[in-house]
Amino acid sequence: MALQSLDIWRRSATTTPSPQQREPIEVAKLIDVTKCIGCKACQSACQEWNDVREEIGVNVGTYQNPHDLTANSWTLMRFAEIEENGNLEWLIRKDGCMHCADPGCLKACPSPGAIIQYKNGIVDFAEENCIGCGYCIKGCPFNIPRLSEKDNKVYKCTLCSDRVSVGLEPACIKACPTQALVFGSKDDMKDHAAERIAELKERGFENAGLYDPQGVGGTHVMYVLHHADKPELYNGLAKDPQINPMVSIWKGITKPLALMAMAGAILGGFFHYIGIGPNEVEEDEEEEKA
């Protein structure tokens, strides 16, 4: 990959126009589950690069650890044992943010600039702007973002926007030993997927196909599936993901109202400060916190 400008396409709760001068290409991560051996190198690399550490959990009867995405695990191998007509399959899918073209999280977010969509398709969270309301979680059709108990902010895969901006592939791609994960322009990834799908069909997987759901405008993380007709087999991958209709209502009516209310609160605070002065923290309150 060449260097990627991180020109911003949209920001949550912001109306300032985006730059138009450059036209970066759309990128995509392709996850070929038919080449994936579930080794979790991607999970490990994700923790390493993003400088997060998962807790030492427990085993609840599965290879899947941690059991779900967390504020520290932005990607997760999900394991599903499927047996149909005596034919056993162990379907292993790397789960994480799909970087939707039409991101429900961004639409739902009320905090200006907390969620950003770059022109290259990456949907990124700027946690410093996150107010921890959790609306993005509700807005996500894939149930990906996770609220941190530690700082009450939401975290998810950034598609390693910091690496991509300097011409590197995301950390998970770099770590994948079998090239089940590949990264490049979305067009190239679709071409590569087409080759893979032809090969799978030759091997008897008649329903092999690409997962690039149009209900969210397509995604910048796509899957090659052996059973593209039944994505739900892969540990509940959404068959036809759509943004929750509540988000549209929120966006159309509620959000402007809520923003007004928030502005009101900020103004209230401002007048409070002007009128009464800063809040004093009681000494014993501080001690309690310590």
Binding site: C36, I37, K40, R53, E54, T62, W90, L91, P177, E199
Partner: protein, 848 residues
């Protein structure tokens, strides 16, 4: 590996049996994925469990642990019966036509020559008929009933599909479908590659599992071929280097063997080990053994090794028996060993029967552990609750823990499974006062030498005369050692074609083991490494990825032993007339005057096609052996013997000889073997991708990916025992118990074996009582103290257990690494060994 990792991409069919390549070798597995994606290869997995490898396979079949020979002998029977062998190859390149002695027999599960008292064979009858010149007799018409191929046919006759299915539990239909896929690779332009690992070695018949596959590959004409071969996937980084350097109690570097008590002088020793030619016109490269050996002695003893003192032969230790790991711990258990140096090894977790090991270590006067991590072995004496329930006050062993550098904190070469010596550079400095193993061993040596000098002693010569030419006596550099392994000329070496020309001057590095001499004019620390560091520099540091043949040879990437040859026996990739069996796989060829090509020919360069010389130049007869002569401990043909603990209590083929009659087993351990009445289920231990043995549980990220000990139980057995997914269970064997979480799975099915329903339970090994993951039980608490007859590798893959629900089980804690693993040292601060895994992962960032 006979071939290489990259070469897997050339295969048409890939058999993963006795291993789980995707799980245990995820990086190398990329070449399997590549073969599937771009060579239309079919991947077949045969394993007791539906593994991660099976999840991407084209075909999976279950098998009962420990019955691979029955399966493979069945395949051999199938291809012989159908005539689906590579006929021309078998006739020219194997010992199929060789005539075996009349007194060789196989009856009721025993080969001729068995000595019941000593549990071993007199192998005299396991030999060819010889003519009056001492050459083996052959019948090229293959009519003689004593021809190897006819004896083999007779031997495998019993392994009918019905019998195979009855022993292995593999459904007959699936067995036959696999036979068909494997047999199709007998076509000269199709190859089968086999990837195996500890799933074959860790059995009391481990070496014979591999023999059976090697024979199959010879019959299919797949040895020496790109995309073929018998490929051992080595589990530890540099375990291949360990074997190459002879770090086994009975080996010397380069697969030479240690002298025994009866080898009183060098001549006797060499005579026994220098093979005699068995067919006219063959190369028999091991006939050069004396050159390799004398050059080794010159490397070890330098000027002190002279013709007059038999090149220091008397200073070599002489073995009275093989001191393999099982033997050493057995002797320790008997109180016959005082001290134990444990270097880069965690035996408390890595040999069988943890309780016996713990008792053994408790009888030592001292134990020295050199390791980067706080291993379980170094804390065997300390009570860690139920998972290591010992009374420290009753253990008098003094334990010294010497922190060492990790591979990434030092430079040097590692030998991978492909036999490539790859130089690597230091990635970070070691924390605390860690030292390299070389520095520690050097200090010990220098101290001992000083003591011998001062105080004399019973036999000081071997220590006092050891050649120690290093610039810094306290720590030889990796470069110095690598050059020593390669070897150098001690006198000018003349060009054999022009005796007036000096080929290599005295003092210069050698470039080939062909230059080695048995008169003391060359020194070489490991003959197979000769060529790795020549006058042209460090060949192991080469990083040219160019692959002119497109066959994955890349001859200028690092350096492969022997002689930078990438595919062993590659002369056999061409027919006797020199034409490649498959034009698309042309590795080498004859140019009218010599052999050459993309790979280094495994043959005498100037012998033209059509000559009597055959491709297997390391054997005395020049051909691949379907009949192993006296090379194996339990017979020249593989035979199905049951694991020492097996669910049948008998062997369906020969009830009188149930298990390997020559296996490594000590009588007093037999009483610790369980029966199927008490322990009805088959247990098998294995590794997971998330962890590397007992190391990575010290690293927080790895620990988070697989935090807690579990066992895998099939749905049918779980239902029978009332165990739900995620329940806590106790798994017991005759030797002890472990507690873990039950992962109830569809991936382990009950098998129908000889009219019985057999359940298997999977026991991953990675947890213990030190590290960053949740505290667990060492899995080898369960395993029996018995080993392979040839390699003494323990039978970790097949034993008997029982399982029950642990109704009051609790979530185990994460050990407090800092509290348990801090080592006080005399003159420095605390070295936090327990956190080293973590430190290593974090270090770079902290330094920035």
């Amino acid at each position: 590996m006979t071939n290489t990792w990259m070469d897997i991409k050339n295969a048409n069919v890939i058999l993963v049996m006795g291993g789980n390549a995707a799980e245990a070798h995820p990086v190398g597995f990329k070449w399997v994925v590549e073969a599937k994606a771009h060579n239309k290869a079919k991947l077949i997995v045969v394993d007791p469990r539906f593994t991660r490898t099976a999840s991407v396979a084209d075909y999976y079949a279950p098998i009962r642990s420990g019955t691979d020979i029955a399966f493979l002998n069945g395949v051999i029977r199938y291809i012989l019966e159908k005539g689906q062998v590579q006929h021309e190859y078998v006739k020219a390149y194997t010992n199929a036509s060789f005539i075996v002695r009349e007194d060789f027999k196989f009856e009721d599960g025993l080969f001729s020559g068995y000595n019941e008292k000593e549990h071993k064979y007199d192998k005299t009858s396991w030999a060819y008929e010889l003519d009056d010149k001492g050459m083996a007799k052959v019948d090229e018409t293959l009519q003689n009933p004593r021809c190897v191929i006819n004896l083999l046919k007779h031997h495998v006759e019993r392994y009918t599909p019905e019998m195979v299915s009855s022993i292995t539990g593999t459904p007959q239909k699936q067995f036959l479908e696999i036979c068909e896929m494997l047999a199709a690779t007998s076509a000269p332009d199709r190859t089968l590659t086999s990837l195996y690992a500890l799933g074959w070695t860790q059995h009391s018949i481990g070496a014979q599992n591999i023999r059976a596959l090697a024979m199959l590959q010879l019959l299919l004409g797949n040895i020496g071929m790109p995309g073929g071969g018998v490929n051992a996937l080595r589990g530890h980084s540099n375990i291949q280097g360990l074997s190459d350097l002879g770090l086994m109690s009975d080996l010397l570097p380069g697969y030479m063997t240690m002298p025994k008590d009866e080898d009183l002088d060098r001549a006797t020793y060499l005579d026994k080990r220098t093979p005699k030619l068995l067919r006219p016109g063959q190369m028999n490269y091991f006939a050069n053994y004396p050159k390799f050996f004398v050059s080794l002695m010159k490397a070890w003893y330098g000027p002190a090794a002279t013709k007059d003192n038999d090149f220091a032969y008397d200073w070599m230790p002489k073995l009275d028996k093989v001191y393999d790991g099982l033997r050493v711990f057995d002797l320790m258990h008997e109180g016959k060993i005082n001290g134990y140096f444990c270097q880069g090894f965690n035996p408390l977790a890595s040999f069988p029967n943890k309780n016996k090991l713990s008792e053994s270590l408790s009888k030592l006067k001292y134990l020295v552990v050199m390791d980067p991590l706080a291993t379980e072995t170094s804390e065997f004496w300390k009570n860690h609750g139920e998972s290591n329930d010992v009374d420290a006050s009753k253990i008098q062993t003094e334990v010294f823990r010497l922190p060492t550098t990790l591979f990434a904190e030092e430079e040097g070469s590692l030998v991978n499974s492909s036999r490539w010596l790859q130089w690597h550079w230091k990635g970070a400095d070691a924390p605390g006062e860690c030292r390299t193993d070389v520095a520690i061993m050097s200090d010990l040596f220098l101290k001992l030498r000083e003591m011998y000098k001062k105080e004399g002693g019973a036999f000081p010569d071997p220590i006092l005369n050891l050649h120690w030419p290093y610039h810094d006596a306290e720590e030889a550099t990796p470069e110095e050692l690598a050059k020593e392994y390669n070897g150098k000329a001690l006198a000018d070496i003349m060009d054999p074609n022009d005796k007036t020309k000096v080929l290599i001057k005295a003092g210069q590095q050698l470039s080939s083991f062909a230059q080695l001499a048995d008169d003391g004019t060359t020194s070489c620390g490991t003959w197979i490494f000769c060529g790795s560091w020549t006058e042209a520099g460090n060949q192991m540091a080469r990083r040219d990825t160019a692959d002119p043949s497109g066959l994955g040879i890349a001859p200028n990437w690092a350096w492969a032993w022997p002689a930078n040859r990438r595919i062993l026996y590659n002369r056999a990739s061409c027919d006797p007339s020199g034409k490649p069996w498959d034009a698309k796989r042309k590795l080498i060829g004859w140019d009218g005057t010599k052999w050459g090509g993309y790979d280094v020919p495994d043959f005498k360069a100037d012998i033209p096609p059509g000559d009597a010389m055959n491709p297997f130049i390391m054997t005395n007869e020049g051909v691949g052996r379907l009949f192993a002569l006296d090379k194996m401990a339990e017979g020249p043909f593989p035979e199905h013997y049951e694991p020492f603990e097996n669910p049948l209590g008998t062997n369906p083929l020969h009830p009188k000889v149930v298990s390997n009659p020559a296996a490594r087993v000590f009588d007093k351990d037999r009483e610790h073997f369980g029966t199927n009445a008490e322990f009805p289920y088959v247990g098998t231990t294995y590794r997971l991708t998330e962890h590397f043995h007992f190391w990575t549980k010290h690293s927080k990220i790895n620990a988070s990916l697989q935090p807690e000990q579990f066992v895998e139980v099939g749905e049918a057995l779980a239902q029978e025992k009332g165990i739900a997914n995620g329940d806590r269970v106790i798994v017991r064997s005759k030797r002890g118990y472990i507690k873990a979480v039950a992962v109830v799975t569809k991936r382990i099915k009950a098998l129908d074996v000889a009219g019985k329903r057999v359940h298997q339970i999977g026991v991953p090994i990675h947890w213990g009582f030190t590290g960053a993951a949740r505290q667990g039980f060492l899995a080898n608490t369960l395993t029996p103290f018995v080993g392979d007859a040839n390699t003494q590798t323990p039978e970790f893959k097949s034993f008997l257990v029982n399982i029950e629900k642990d109704t009051d089980g609790k979530v185990p804690a994460v050990p407090e690494a800092t509290a348990s693993a801090t080592m006080k040292t005399a003159d420095a601060g605390d070295v936090d060994l327990g956190r080293r895994g973590w430190l290593f992962g974090r270090k770079r960032k902290e330094e920035v």
